[in-house]
Amino acid sequence: MTSATTAHSVVEPSATTRRFAGSLVVLYAVITMIPLVWIMLTAFKSPDDAISYPPKVMFKPSLEGFCNLFTTRSRQTPEFIRSLGPPQGLCDSIARSRNMVVAGPSNYVPRFVNSLIIAFGSTVLAVALGTLSAYGFSRFRVPLKDDLLFFILSTRMMPPIAVAIPIYLMYRTVGLSDTRLGMILLYTSVNVSLAVWLLKGFIDEIPREYEEAAMIDGYTRFQAFVKVVLPQATTGIAATAIFCLIFAWNEYAFAVLLTSGNAQTAPPFIPIIIGEGGQDWPAVAAGTTLFLVPIVVFTVLLRKHLLRGITFGAVRK
């Protein structure tokens, strides 16, 4: 028993090493989290607290940032404001304390909805196309298979601005400029390469004996794919879908160049939230926070598959 322990302990780091390594990693994690935590704190600050010097860690929480994010306001004379009835809701009373009245909703909600529609639409399409192709590449002899797979991957390597020039012209010609459909198709084409590569890895891992057994039982190849392979690949499909979702959700270059109003998503919109006299930082921070929360949730869900996703399925462990 002792010999087994020593043989093992040769490569096991000592308790001191572990504690030392652990504290360095924790230190890095804490430092790296500061910018994120700071932006989330700023979302709950009043505009004065947000730009105070020295920066305030302790402050009175305020929802003004969120109010400014969701509303547009107009400045009025105190006499006019006094002539109005009682304030309607929290945001109205905050606005009135600054001699303003709420004029209407801001564009944040429509942009956020665009982000949702475009991200989910392109994800569903990319994963559907990707699953079919991945199965094709995984199970059948396809001529020029390696070249096709490389071709699929290489489309993702193009610089987005280089792609955006002809897409801009093409969409202008066919009337897809600034439409959600245009953005969905574009994001699908970018994501499908990731979907094919990732899902091929997942499907390769499903033993083909399952399908063969099903086919002996009288299933056609297609039925075997739907009833045997797809259920087995659920985890892989879900992980791939989340990766596609995150890409489409985060994308900025195409969105800022190809959309202006109708189909604009949140990333190009958040930086242009401005208040009176420059950038309204609490509102920007509030918009950023709401935008980042889904990603944080997804990252935690995905943590087991992250490595696979970022290396196009090459590194699996």
């Binding site: 910018p35 932006i39 290489s154 900025y252 992250l306 090459a314």
Partner: protein
């Protein structure tokens, strides 16, 4: 290699072992099904990637301007290519890009590998801390660039405050984004903050792929820890490190969103990386022909790098 044996397995089964099965499969043949499954993806990519690419190639030989669609298009031959490759502004942009790519890759690799090495010691709670460290790379580069402009504000920004706190300088005495000497480093810092976890994650996979028995053998041979690191750990993790380096290299070569929001290429053109130059030419000056030629040059460069990347991928895969 795997594919080869797999596909030969199909043939073997279909031809030799189960002719009965083959006869009983109704409906579509495998060949038809394979094409039905793969074609939609290829068609989409041809329509949204390849057709536009060919169009760009065509435009790069013309004087076309997207904001003056009615002006008759003149064929210019390779003029744009010649003027781009001899344009000092383009070479300045390439230098800015090189500075950005080299420094981010070096910093991210060193810190990323170091972190992976530490996490591989499997201290208590390493899983949770790893997930926390990974968060920045999942965020939108545009949103990250935008909120770092807030941190970089002179006087009110947290970054300036922290630097001032530790160096004793005045927090409003330097502008990370407005100073020609500091701004190239400002974008490097944000990129390193965001993408070090990426390199860390891949390096960690590399370290974990090294089997314990190799270290055990080294211990038996009384190799020092230092020697083990240089002779076992580093060489065996190298393919993974290369993978991370190449991927970061390609991604940062085409970097646009984060830099566009941090500095927009400024002050002057000190942070004008290639993608920003391209965007200015294509969507601000509307020199479509010229920018198409530049896009093709960038694309060929990335494509070359991607080729190496895929070879590296396959090398890692075969391990």
């Amino acid at each position: 290699m795997n594919e080869l044996s797999a596909s030969s397995r199909i043939t073997y089964r279909a031809v030799m072992v189960r002719p009965g099965v083959a006869r009983r499969i109704r409906g579509l043949s495998d060949r038809t099904l394979a094409w039905l499954f793969i074609t939609p993806t290829i068609v989409l990519l041809l329509a949204i990637n390849i057709f536009p690419l060919l169009w760009t190639i065509y435009l790069s030989f013309t004087n076309y301007r997207a904001n003056r669609a009615n002006v008759p298009t003149i064929w210019l031959g390779a003029d744009w290519y010649q003027s781009i490759l001899t344009d000092p502004d383009i070479w300045a942009a390439m230098q800015v890009t090189a500075h950005f790519v080299i420094w981010t890759v070096v910093i991210e690799t060193v810190i990323g590998f170091g972190l992976a090495f530490l996490i591989d010691k499997k201290f208590r709670g390493h899983g949770m801390w790893t997930t926390i460290i990974l968060l920045p790379m999942m965020l939108s580069p545009a949103v990250v660039g935008n909120f770092w402009t807030f941190l970089y504000q002179p006087q009110i920004g947290l970054f300036n405050y922290v630097v001032a706190f530790f160096t004793g300088r005045d927090a409003s005495s330097f502008q990370m984004l407005g100073d020609v000497r500091l701004s190239p480093w400002a974008i490097v810092i944000v990129d390193a903050w965001m993408w070090t976890p990426y390199v860390m994650l891949i390096c960690l996979a590399g370290l974990r792929s090294i089997p314990d028995y190799i270290y055990e053998a080294a211990e038996v041979d009384r190799a020092s820890k230092w020697r083990q690191f240089w002779s076992i750990t580093l060489p065996m993790a190298l393919p993974f490190i290369m993978l991370a380096v190449l991927f970061r290299g390609i991604e940062n070569f085409k970097m646009f969103d984060m830099v566009n929001l941090l500095t927009g290429g400024g002050p002057g053109s000190t942070t004008e990386v290639a993608s920003i130059t391209l965007k200015r030419a294509a969507f601000e000056s509307w020199r479509t022909g010229y920018s198409s030629a530049f896009a093709i040059i960038l694309f060929v460069t990335v494509f070359g790098l991607a080729n190496i990347y895929v070879k590296a991928l396959n090398k890692v895969k075969s391990r």
